[in-house]
């Protein structure tokens, strides 16, 4: 009688707290759960009653890694509610800022969180001995992303400059030129990382699911777009509720979502599957080199898709800075006129589709909020993936099974603490 | 009140008579003279307060009359009137002490106001007369006329030569910042957020770099970049003059000096003052010196006053200067007089009265009341051009091998400014901090440096969110008056190349011994073999690079060889690190600093030593000295107090003192133990047990603050005079050289004027609290 009992308490190398539980006897699975037990954080209860100026500041604190994505989604939602159209320069700077976050987040995940598994170590720290150059390179890229964000918005974690209506500070074009040079140098770094990844044996497993991401006819959608899906036509962002359909499950403080199937996936692989044709040439080439061809149904390949996106955002940023060099940067003061209304702002955070939905009264005070977090949307998919994966590997050792399950969760790059808090709120006239 | 006597001297009858009539109507007594000789005769016979004098006289010239009148009656103040202003005569007149000049035709109201101000400013002997700083020769001031394109090419020339810091706009305000082109420069502005002195004394600067890899090594850091400050208003010029005195004259500050020597000052007269500014009340809306060039926009061009040779060279090189015309001088006066009318704030009393006013109102409840809404946010001091207090910190790199010692702006209004390592805060209420700042601005700085501590720029009043910071409001609110005229004299002195005052000398730890549970005594000698050369009562600053610096009294006498001893209690970060040191290790030492015990005053006298607890540490230095030179002194009486027998320190030395037949020795502990057979009680109780000749005895006391009160009480009971009671005070000390400000007690710096004081000196210092 073969028993497999796995209880991963607080899986490591992911953001937030989650457990994996597997109980199997003689090939029969008694229990298999991806449990999210992160502390609920009550964000929309916290946003209620706040002035619109404070809302992005608080919303940013949903997540420390994708604080830029939350900030941008948040200001977009406020702007949508008030009917504000930001300037060309603002839109461009937001894209550049967002790219900085992608660079940092993807490098962090691919090299610090996911790669160690493939290199047979349990963290990045031993790699300082064995792969010192890679570690130094990763730190250099992170530092580049950080400095880029600093120049545009003052700080990377919980940025300052990105406000409703525009920016509170104007970046120094000479500092951006400097960044451009460092980005150009980074191309070489990415080549080395791609080479490294080619040597790694990415686990293979396939389960086709619905893939959802923003779609923008003009470019590979990261900051703007409508909701695209492999299973349906593109829908406007404002009708997101019909896509997400959140529901509770008892073993998780995070909610689940589903659309056309039992579950759906968001994130790098979804974006790749839907929009790969719009990747910049250098990224497309890297995808081919790494064996990533659309459509790809292997969740372990999310990490590879992130690597491809890293190359894309580096090129995109170089192009943006060149453009700003020719147009120059003007000091623009954001002008905000408050009015009652509801607005939805959506971005593709590094981990997937992120939506902020706000309602304001005529004094600019928030009365209702709803946020859909990327990882939220993936929990269900992770559960279904595990249910499809485990039967086929039950004959392996417990260690092997545990490793594959952990790596599965890790490849989604989950951001668990963000995902445990938000729900539609109805204003109950309490105050 | 008796009517003031005025003398009017002019050869034209109509001028004489009309001025006389006007002044009589205004309540003065007026006599007239039609030529110089007559005027001088009258001055010999009458005590005139003010003379109104025409420069162009028949016979004896106006200038000669001025000069001669001064010898007859030095207190006589003179006002020149002239129809033909020339630069030379004006300079001459100024040189001979004329107050001001008016251009004919004289507007009666102007004259009257000038006389009124002059009369009010007369020194009637009530103000404390401070020793005047030796006057340097009159600064160069020559006037030229240049066009606005001359100004432009001057600035552009400067930009090519050096880094130019000029006035630019920022978010609707003005700041001093690097100029990339002439077009960025704004010469007509009201006030900048921060004063231009921040380029001479920046908010944060590195003093030293250090490396501790094989023992501590220090390296000086300096900024010698050539710069020019352009657009500096006279009030800021006056403020820089004060900073020059502070940082150059005594204990020359190498970092400030380097910057100062490499910075040109191109001033501009202020035509549109800020709403909070009251510079004319402080006499700082004009500057006679302290600049290389001072420009005035007179509409039809610019006047350029030359202050230094460099200024003259620049003018010649770039600006195509020409001689001024009489019309231009008149126009300049017009422009400047008009600017004066634009100030919205002023002192209601002559500034000379401030000293006495502030002195007499120390206990005024106004201070606490006003400071109620003070946030202790520091805005007022950080934007102030005459503030210069700073903090010094060490920052180590993560490798724990190298680091830097830097200083940053600090302020007496911040809560922890006067807090020491043991936790005591010597200025812990908002009211006391507010009072201290105002007193510094209006009194202490004037007394110490002979210059106004406030230039009336108005920045603090603008920056203060609680709207309580304006000194003029505080002064007016208290309001009395005395005018002390301080003459500006400033020339950059070539600083003698002495040892950099912030650079520690390396000292080797030769021996360590335990004294008590938290006390040790360290024997040091300088690595380069030199002697410390200290006086008993002085202190040193001990450096452990990366941790910081701490003031420690010297515990041994200079008569005891090259090595010196520091007895130290472990209370804070530095002393903690010191206590971990082993023999053979090296520290940094600066000093000796401070005034030691008054050895000369003690010669031939009986000395009553009283020490409580670790007060013994500094006192031991003097006791050893006196024992080594026994024949110079009378009776030696030593009274020691400790908390308990186990807390007695230097016990074998105490034994020696006890057994010494020429020493009268008594000891007590507050709480005895089973073995203790000596006195039990506080050290104060020992005083009645000694019989002293109060006319020939000096008491020297060191101990905790609480002890002073009781001991002094006892000493006063037996009739000892204040000047025969000597004590050593503790305060937070950082720089040791009278600059950073933390050790201030009212207007004195403990590190310079102390730590040893007589009780007589302390009677005037309310914050000493004894």
């Amino acid at each position: 009688m073969k028993t497999s009992k796995i209880n991963v308490h607080y899986i490591t190398r992911v953001e937030g707290h989650g457990d994996i539980v597997l109980n199997a006897v003689d090939g029969e699975i008694e229990e298999l759960k991806w449990k999210v037990i992160e502390a609920p954080r009550f964000f929309e209860a916290m946003l209620r009653g706040r002035n619109y100026n404070d809302v992005p500041i608080i919303a940013s604190r949903i997540c420390g890694i994708c604080s830029i994505a939350h900030t941008i989604a948040s200001v977009k939602a406020v702007e949508a509610a008030f009917g504000i159209n930001p300037t060309e320069q603002t839109l461009t700077l937001r894209k550049l800022l967002h790219n900085a976050e992608y660079l940092e987040s993807h490098v962090l995940h691919t090299l610090f969180l996911a790669a160690p598994d493939y290199l047979g170590v349990s963290s990045v720290f031993p790699l300082v001995e064995t792969h010192k150059d890679i570690v130094v390179m990763a730190l250099r890229l992170k530092r580049l992303a950080y400095n880029m964000a600093e120049i545009i918005a003052g700080r990377k974690t919980h940025p300052l400059g990105c406000v409703v209506g525009g920016f509170s500070m104007t970046p120094d074009i000479n500092a951006l030129k400097d960044i451009k040079q460092r980005l150009e140098a980074a191309r070489g770094d990415l080549e080395i990382i791609v080479k490294l990844f080619k040597t790694l044996e990415i686990l293979s497993f396939e389960r086709e699911t619905e893939y959802i991401a923003l779609k923008d006819s003009r470019e590979y959608a990261l900051v703007n777009g409508d909701i695209g899906s492999t299973d349906s036509q593109t829908l406007p962002v404002s009708s997101y509720l019909g896509v997400t359909n959140e529901f509770c499950v008892p073993w998780s403080t995070a909610k689940y979502t589903k659309h056309k199937r039992d579950s759906y996936m968001v994130g790098a692989l979804s974006r790749f599957n839907l929009n790969h044709a719009q990747l910049l040439p250098q990224a497309k080439n890297a995808a081919v080199e790494l064996g990533l061809i659309a459509p790809n149904y292997n969740p372990y390949m999310i990490t590879v898709a992130q690597l491809v996106e890293t190359i894309h955002v580096i090129e995109d940023s170089i192009n943006i800075i060149k453009h700003l060099e020719s147009t120059g940067l003007k000091e623009e003061t954001p002008v905000v006129k408050v009015k009652a209304g509801r607005g939805v702002g959506a971005v593709e955070a590094p981990r997937g589709l992120l939506i902020h939905d706000y309602t304001f009264n005529d004094k600019g005070i928030l009365t209702a909020a709803n946020c859909i977090i990327p990882t939220n949307q993936n929990h269900n998919n992770i559960q279904k993936d595990m249910e499809a994966l485990v039967p086929g590997i039950l004959d392996q050792t417990e260690d092997e099974i545990r490793r594959k399950l952990e790596m599965l969760v890790r490849s989604y790059d989950p951001c668990i603490s963000c995902s445990t808090h938000l729900l539609k709120i109805s204003f109950t006239n309490k105050k | 009140m008796a009517k003031e006597m005025i003398l009017v001297v002019d050869d034209e009858a109509i001028v004489r008579e009309s001025i006389k009539d006007w002044l009589i109507q205004s309540g003065y007594q007026v006599l007239t003279a039609e030529n110089g000789e007559e005027a001088l005769e009258m001055i010999k016979k009458q005590d005139f307060r003010v003379m109104v004098l025409d420069i162009r006289l028949p016979g004896e010239s106006g200038i000669n009359v001025l000069a001669k009148a001064k010898t007859i009656n030095p207190k006589l103040k003179s006002i020149i009137i002239t129809a033909y202003p020339t630069e030379d005569t004006l300079i001459e007149a100024k040189k001979h002490g004329a107050i001001d000049y008016l251009i004919k035709p004289v507007i009666p109201e102007d004259l009257e106001k000038l006389i009124q101000d002059t009369v009010n400013s007369i020194d009637d002997g009530v103000a404390t007369e401070k020793e005047r700083i030796e006057k340097a020769p009159s600064p160069i001031t020559k006037l030229y006329s240049i066009t606005s394109s001359g100004v432009k090419s001057l600035i552009e020339g400067l930009i090519r030569e050096r880094e130019v810091i000029g006035v630019k706009s920022k978010q609707g305000k003005f700041i001093f910042d690097k100029l990339n082109s002439y077009d960025e420069l704004i010469l007509d502005y009201d006030i900048t957020l921060l004063p231009p002195s921040k380029f001479l004394f920046p908010a944060k600067e590195t003093l030293l770099k250090f490396n501790v890899e094989s023992g501590p090594k220090f390296q000086v850091v300096n900024d010698a970049k050539p710069r020019a400050l352009v657009g500096v208003h006279p009030d800021d010029i006056n403020a820089i003059a004060l900073l020059d005195d502070v940082f150059i004259k005594i204990n020359p500050d190498p970092n400030y000096i380097t910057r100062r020597q490499n910075t040109l000052i191109i001033g501009v007269n202020c035509l549109h003052p800020a709403s909070e500014s009251f510079a004319p009340s402080m006499g700082t809306n004009t500057a006679d010196s302290g600049y290389d060039l001072l420009l005035t926009d007179i509409g039809i061009g610019f006047m350029a006053a030359v202050g230094t040779k460099t200024g003259a060279e620049l003018l010649n090189k770039y600006a195509n200067p020409r001689e001024v015309t009489g019309e231009e001088i008149a126009r300049q006066k017009e422009v400047r007089d008009e600017a004066v009318t634009k100030y919205q704030r002023s002192l209601n009393v002559p500034k000379e009265r401030l000293l006495k006013l502030l002195q007499d109102n120390y206990e005024n409840p106004f201070w606490e009341f006003r400071a109620k809404s003070c946030l202790s946010c520091g805005s007022c001091v950080m934007v102030c051009p005459t503030c210069f207090c700073f903090d010094v910190q060490d920052e180590m790199a993560l490798n724990l091998i190298e680091g830097e010692r830097y200083r940053n702006w600090d302020g007496c209004v911040l809560v922890d400014f006067a807090k020491v390592a043991s936790g005591e805060n010597f200025r812990h209420t908002k009211g006391s901090r507010f009072r201290h700042r105002i007193l510094r601005k209006g009194k202490y700085i004037l007394e110490k440096y002979g210059r106004a501590g406030c230039v009336g720029c108005g920045r603090c009043a603008t920056a203060c969110l609680a709207k309580i910071a304006s000194p003029v409001e505080a002064f007016n609110a208290i309001a009395e008056s005395e005018r002390v005229k301080e003459e500006a004299d400033r020339i950059i002195i070539e600083a003698e190349s002495k040892h950099n005052i912030y650079l520690p000398h390396l000292a080797l730890l030769v021996n360590v011994q335990d004294l008590g549970a938290k006390e040790k005594v360290f024997d040091f000698k300088f690595v380069d073999g030199r002697a410390l050369g200290h006086k008993p009562g002085q202190f040193v600053e001990v450096s452990i690079p990366g941790i910081g610096e701490s003031p420690i009294s010297i515990s041994s006498s200079p008569t005891r060889g090259e090595e010196f001893q520091l007895a130290v209690r472990n209370v804070g970060s530095v002393t903690n690190a010191l206590h971990k040191l082993k023999e053979g290790q090296v520290v940094g030492i600066r000093g000796p600093f401070g005034k030691g015990f008054p050895i000369d005053q003690l010669k031939g006298k009986d000395i009553l030593f009283i020490a409580g607890g670790i007060g013994l540490f500094p006192l031991r230095s003097l006791i050893q000295y006196v024992l080594d030179k026994r024949e110079n002194f009378g009776r030696i009486i030593i009274l020691l107090g400790a908390r308990s027998p186990s807390e007695r320190m230097f016990t074998s030395e105490l034994e020696q003192w006890n057994r010494n037949p020429s020493v009268e020795y008594m000891e007590t502990v507050e709480k005895g133990d089973e073995k203790w057979t000596g006195n039990v009680g506080v050290v104060t109780a020992l005083i009645p047990k000694v019989r002293v000749d109060i006319k020939n005895t000096v008491a020297v006391i060191v101990g905790p603050p609480i002890m002073y009160r009781f001991v002094i009480n006892e000493l006063k009971k037996i009739g000892l005079a204040d000047e025969h009671i000597v004590l050593s005070l503790e305060r937070r000390m950082k720089c040791g050289v009278g600059k950073c400000g933390h050790c201030q007690i009212n207007g004195v710096y403990v590190c310079q004027d102390g730590p040893v004081f007589t009780l007589e000196q302390l009677r005037g210092l309310r914050e000493a609290v004894l």
Partner: protein, 245 residues
């Protein structure tokens, strides 16, 4: 023997730990030469129950957090609160301003009974804290300052003066002069006044100074056009409002 350092997180966004890793290569190498990082769930899989220095990010929001925190306190010689959530409660405190049951109901509806939640507490309301590294996020330099101070055996010099000091050092135009209202005058400096320098105002994420003149600040806020209620709201973003920490 190198000190053993462990990182733990409670209810937080994990941004503070991320900032801790934001070192350049040289600094990271110096850091791991000086200390052994034995627990950092977000970045490594090994863990250990033996550590000298524990960094805690996040606030206490559940009953179960209390026992967990107490156990960490028992094991660590030095406990350091890292970031606003740990030092003063942080944005998690916003939920304290409405009754708990209401917040639960709003978020989870009828399933509310499954969720354990208590009013947010900063960690020093549960255990003794040796050092505070403040801010949202704290500047990396301050975390390093505390580490260096521990290694050198000295007290880290953290400012006890308001943000205004650093604003003036930077030559900023005051937020109040740019039609904003600001908590700088009562909030603890050490952040370099970064928010104001980048065009915003201060939200007080580092907590109050030791002796804040809160009444004066409230008056000033009101003078600049916000009501007392709005002023109180400002204090609440990062903490339960008004106390010194």
């Amino acid at each position: 023997m190198k000190p053993r350092v462990a990182f733990f997180d409670f209810a937080s966004c994990e941004g503070c730990q991320l900032e801790a890793l934001n070192l350049d290569a040289g600094e990271l190498l110096d850091l791991i030469a000086a200390v052994d990082i034995v627990n950092f769930r977000e970045a490594m899989s090994e863990s250990s129950d033996t550590y000298d220095i524990a960094f805690i990010e996040g606030s206490v929001t559940r009953e179960s957090d209390i026992a967990r925190l107490e156990k960490i306190r028992q094991r660590a010689k030095i406990l350091i609160a890292l970031g606003a959530c740990a030092t003063i409660g942080g944005v998690n405190c916003l939920k304290n301003h409405m009754p708990m049951e209401e917040a639960l109901k709003i978020v989870y509806g009828e399933d509310a009974k499954n969720y354990d939640t208590i009013p947010t507490k900063p960690i020093d309301e549960v255990v003794h804290v040796d050092y505070y590294v403040r801010g949202c996020p704290p500047p990396t330099s301050e975390m390093l300052k505390v580490v260096k101070a521990i290694l050198l055996g000295k007290k880290p010099e953290i400012p006890n003066y308001p943000v205004c000091v650093e604003c003036k050092w930077s030559g900023n135009v005051c937020a109040f002069e740019r039609a904003m209202t600001c908590l700088g005058p009562v909030s603890r400096a050490g952040c370099g006044a970064i928010c104001v320098t980048k065009g915003r105002n201060c939200w007080g994420c580092r907590g109050l100074v030791d002796e804040p003149n809160v009444d004066s600040e409230k008056e000033i806020l009101q003078k600049h056009g916000i009501t007392l209620e709005q002023a109180l709201q400002k204090f609440q973003i990062y903490s339960t409002g008004g106390e010194k920490k």
